[in-house]
């Protein structure tokens, strides 16, 4: 593929693992990689890898990455012709996409109109339903705010409250009984107002223990839209994904064809260009449209591994005006891939985020193992950002082999200085229901033993105390201070 790139330099408006991951592809394609970074991220892999790193400032570190004006100025200064937004931050902000294009920059993503349509969850839902695609029973506040509470109750319990402007699980609440409805609506409104500056809500029938299945889609500006098969992301805590895999162990070939064709159909109806993901809930043999994410997804590597393609490369090619390099017929997934998100959090304490320095970091390396990491030794993990530190991606011929590979990779992954969820992931990998593929979005609530920290055996305790004692100067000094003569006589205590 010979490309006459309309841009020679790509600015990555993101941080952490995704910024580093995009830098690698940009450089592999022979382009310059520019990253913007807040001072707290100066030691991160993305900044170290990039050809140019431009510092940005903000009232908080997060605010810096949300400051589109400053980022556009950085692109001008660095001579970048394109901006890749990654996920989160400005990736689904239609005004930013517009500003990029107005500034003569290529925004590596869909049109501002597509972002706008899918970003408004209520409009997106209506758009999908109008196309004849399946959506869950719901009530939308905007249709008639005065009767919203009554209409919400009529959807039936349990129901799920969602912010109209939301995404990523923020501000969502399950209501199981009519008595709690008003209070929960008020709470959700306040959260929606704060996160999205928009307190409008809608409610949807909550399907008990559903699976979360999503389909990667890709379109180009010549009207071609294909799907890149599904990912199952049912293992979640508080609507945040922890493990993703492809293919889904739940789908029959028939349902797979159906759900993938539906996703491609929705994207096609939206005139979608570049990479996107259509999310569905799946239960009792039926699936409903959940939302469409108009950006690269955190869990995109699962698709990359089963299809053997680099999604970021194709995002850049399509953004550069090329035709899609693959057709539906040429896409043939092989084997099984998993992604495990490594979070700075303590699952045994309600998944509370943890902080601390990265004193030592050891990552597993072997065939079939990929680590997309946003941290390096010497860095400080703070509460300033999302707690996701890195992603472990494994791929093998079968689901069972991939799980075995993940187990050995997690045994080898070591981060000292900040507690992570790797112990939890190891317990998950031995859970019979997980091994059987019997997962759903309520899996972790139904199996609290996965999150609980098992008590240490006496043997493990002694090993830890021995290592700690021998590595602690005062303890060792006290032992060494026993005069040689006494030591000769036996095991002396000073």
């Amino acid at each position: 593929m010979q490309t006459n790139w309309p841009f020679q330099s790509v600015l990555i408006a993101n941080r952490g693992e995704i910024a580093a991951r995009i830098v690698r592809t940009v450089q592999r394609l022979g382009l310059q990689a520019v990253v913007v970074h807040h001072a707290v991220d100066a030691d991160t892999p993305a900044v170290r890898l990039a050809d140019t790193a431009i510092e940005i400032t903000g009232a908080t570190p997060v605010a810096a990455y949300l400051d589109g004006t400053q980022i556009l100025e950085a692109a001008r200064r660095a001579g970048s012709g394109a901006i890749h937004p990654g996920y989160g931050f400005l990736s689904e902000n239609p005004s930013f996409a517009r500003q990029c294009r107005q500034a003569g920059l290529v925004f590596v993503g869909p049109s501002a109109e597509a972002i706008e349509l899918m970003g408004d969850k209520v409009r997106a839902r209506a758009f999908v339903a109008q196309g004849g695609f399946p959506v869950a029973p719901s009530a939308i506040e905007d249709d008639d705010p005065d009767s919203f509470v009554e209409r919400a109750a009529a959807v039936g319990f349990p129901l799920l409250i969602k912010p109209a402007a939301g995404g990523g699980g923020k501000g969502m609440r399950i209501v199981r009984e009519a008595a709690a409805l008003r209070t929960e609506l008020d709470r959700a409104r306040s959260e929606g107002q704060r996160y999205f500056g928009d307190g409008r809500l809608y409610v949807e029938r909550f399907i008990e223990n559903p699976r979360h299945i999503e389909v990667q889609v890709f379109g180009d500006e010549y009207g071609t839209v294909v799907h890149l098969f599904e990912r199952e992301c049912s293992v979640q805590r508080r609507f945040q994904k922890i493990v993703e895999e492809s293919p889904s162990p739940a789908l029959s070939p028939q349902v797979r064809d159906d759900i993938c064709a539906t996703a491609a159909g929705i994207a096609r109806r939206a005139g979608y260009c570049n990479a996107g993901t259509v999310e569905f809930i799946y239960g009792n043999g039926e699936f409903y449209f959940l939302e469409m994410n108009t950006r690269l997804q955190v869990e995109h590597p699962v698709t990359e591994e089963t299809l053997g393609i680099d999604l970021v490369e194709h995002q850049l090619r399509v953004a550069a005006g090329e035709k899609l390099a693959f057709s539906q017929e040429t896409l043939r997934p092989r084997g099984h891939a998993f992604e495990f998100r490594i979070y700075a959090e303590d699952p045994s304490r309600g998944y509370l985020p943890t902080t601390g320095p990265v004193l030592a970091l050891r990552e597993p390396r072997a065939a079939g193992i990929r680590i997309d990491s946003g941290i390096a030794a010497g860095q400080e993990i703070t509460a300033a950002f999302d707690p996701m530190l890195a992603k472990l991606i494994v791929s093998a011929a079968t689901r069972g082999e991939a799980i075995a590979l993940a187990r050995s990779a997690l045994d080898d992954y070591a981060l000292l200085g900040c507690k992570t969820n790797t112990g939890f992931l190891r317990r998950l990998l031995s859970h019979p229901a997980f091994l059987a593929g019997e997962i759903h979005t309520g899996f972790l609530d139904a199996h609290p033993e996965v999150a609980a920290q098992p008590p240490l055996s006496d043997e493990t305790l002694h090993r830890l105390l021995a290592a700690a004692a021998l590595a602690t100067r005062p303890v060792r000094d006290a032992a060494d201070a026993v005069p040689a003569l006494h030591a000769d006589m036996g095991d002396w205590r000073n």
């Binding site: 908080t60 699980g169 923020k170 501000g171 959260e191 704060r194 508080r238 945040q240 959090e345 998944y351 509370l352 985020p353 943890t354 902080t355 320095p357 004193l359 030592a360 050891r362 703070t382 509460a383 300033a384 707690p387 997690l410 045994d411 080898d412 070591a414 981060l415 000292l416 200085g417 507690k419 790797t422 112990g423 190891r426 240490l456 006496d458 493990t460 305790l461 002694h462 090993r463 830890l464 105390l465 021995a466 290592a467 700690a468 004692a469 021998l470 590595a471 602690t472 005062p474 303890v475 060792r476 006290a478 032992a479 060494d480 026993v482 030591a487 095991d491 002396w492 205590r493 000073n494």
Partner: protein, 167 residues
């Protein structure tokens, strides 16, 4: 000399002895021959009762971080002086600390204001969820250590109450 390490909130006493054969760990009523060999960087080989384990060890102040059999553990060396001087962290109910890292999204009291046990003091946001911090005792707000919008670490000082001011 007796030493102690805190692990998962529990103190474990031990002492390390030395004989011609090497070190011996005395803990939990057992005496176990132990040796620790450096293997470059943070890597070590722990020999305990003749068995060998590859461990990673990193230290910071009194903290000893140990990675063993796929799991990382934090042990904290408790200085003997501090051990016997009482717990300096024991501030009682009058001092409220952050139960988790996050940011302050609302403060509902002012300095001087009287509060009763259970009253809401402030709201913290962490992991995209709100948590209300309540007063653990009756008293008056003596000091507000944080402002709205501020990022806080776990155990950060939030509010000090003056218990003598309770009616």
């Amino acid at each position: 000399m007796l030493h102690a390490f805190l692990l998962d909130g529990e103190a474990h006493e031990l002492w390390l002895g030395r004989s011609r054969e090497g070190y011996c760990l005395h803990a939990g009523g057992r005496r176990i021959p132990v040796e620790l060999l450096e293997r470059g960087g943070h890597a070590h080989e722990l020999i305990i009762d003749g068995d060998r384990y590859h461990v990673l060890i990193a230290r910071r102040g009194d903290e000893v971080h140990v990675h063993l059999n796929g799991e990382s553990h934090l042990l904290r060396y408790v200085d003997n002086l501090k051990r016997f001087a009482g717990d300096p962290m024991d501030e009682g109910d009058a001092v409220t600390r952050a139960p988790m890292p996050g940011s302050i999204i609302a403060v509902s009291v002012e300095v001087g204001q009287r509060v009763r046990r259970g009253d809401a003091l402030m709201v913290i946001e962490s992991m995209k969820m709100e948590t209300t911090i309540n007063a653990a005792c009756d008293g008056a707000v003596q000091c507000l250590h944080v402002d709205v919008g501020q990022l806080i670490d776990k155990d950060a000082l939030l509010i000090t109450l003056d218990r003598s001011a309770s009616e």
